[in-house]
Point group: C2
Chain length 201, copies 2
Amino acid sequence: MIRILLADDEHLIRGAMAALLSLEDDLEVVAQAATGAEALATARVVRPDVAVIDLQMPDLDGVSVAQSLAAELPSCSTMIVTSHGRPGHLKRALAAGVRGFLPKTVSSDVLATVVRTVHTGGRYVDPALAAEAISAGDSPLTPREADVLELALEGAPIDEIARRASLSPGTVRNYLSSAVGKTGASNRHEAARVARARGWI
Amino acid sequence: MIRILLADDEHLIRGAMAALLSLEDDLEVVAQAATGAEALATARVVRPDVAVIDLQMPDLDGVSVAQSLAAELPSCSTMIVTSHGRPGHLKRALAAGVRGFLPKTVSSDVLATVVRTVHTGGRYVDPALAAEAISAGDSPLTPREADVLELALEGAPIDEIARRASLSPGTVRNYLSSAVGKTGASNRHEAARVARARGWI
DNA sequence: CCGCCCTCATGACATCTGTCATGAGGAACT
DNA sequence: AGTTCCTCATGACAGATGTCATGAGGGCGG
């Protein structure tokens, strides 16, 4: 019997997934959590075999949870399910020791199969997401460029970005100009969108 | 027995919700769809009592589907479930004749209860979402301002917005300037974000 | 019929942004 | 020690953007 921890902030989805996994004879949902912190706390107590975690949760995101879990409970395999599969997330997740990565568009059979796969030490990444991640390529942005671009996401003017990054406005403009060139965009707002879509920030 | 049509592009969620609703004695999921168009086509054939529709789907969004359903199948009550509850969506949904509006954070009991409620002619809107919608207030934007601001969402330069809206660049700047004032933002990109957050576009 | 508002436009002006050249200081690698 | 890259900065310039004044035309309610 594979003992599963389920974490998802959407109660409806979580309950439904639990119902669905419980239909399988060899799977058992032993705990549920609605936030990242809750998931960690619960995992420490129940020590599940597999953790199925939603990528986006109110507090910690799924990758952070996975990272902590990998460190604290090496016997527990972590897999992530998500609605919005961005290439950057996949990379960060794999780096964090995640064994499975699935979009929520897969069928329940696949979910159950992957739970079994990661439990026996295997890995599984959704083929479509993997292809996207590969085609997106590595980020050409330097760390600082990425920082600044991230601050530009909300549409703030340069002066505010400069204050928040503790840089001079001129420097911010240089980084943004460089980032705009690398993304092929025509201004920083578009560049920020492109970079996010490719998982670079 | 209440006959239900379920539409959600996320296979996993849809299957799970179906499993969950089927646990109720008086509910029966008679059809499922993965896109808006599919939902409409299926509804015409199976004529369900209640349609449970996800707000965000690849092609038509949930509100458009609801609108068509209300016109074509008045006997079918429509309710919408969503991950991202923006006030604007709620307003549009109610205007389209939707009877129930729920975030996916609710429990399965609530879902089942609301299905029964809308089937008997009642209405149900999640209290938290309703409060948000009320506090967000009515949009101060004129229709044209909203159009232009929407085109600005992706960060396009003014000239492109002007082309896409078939306006002169000068006019676009006037509308945007006005919208920036009304949203209290410091540039059009921030204004677009604010307006979207408040459900104005 | 007369305001009032929305739509669309133009011109002028100040400011904000994007781009480029240039340079100092530091870390990493050879 | 030398090379290369990143970080951070300044100054200058062109072009994009935000703001304001102004006006023509149309629809709608009083």
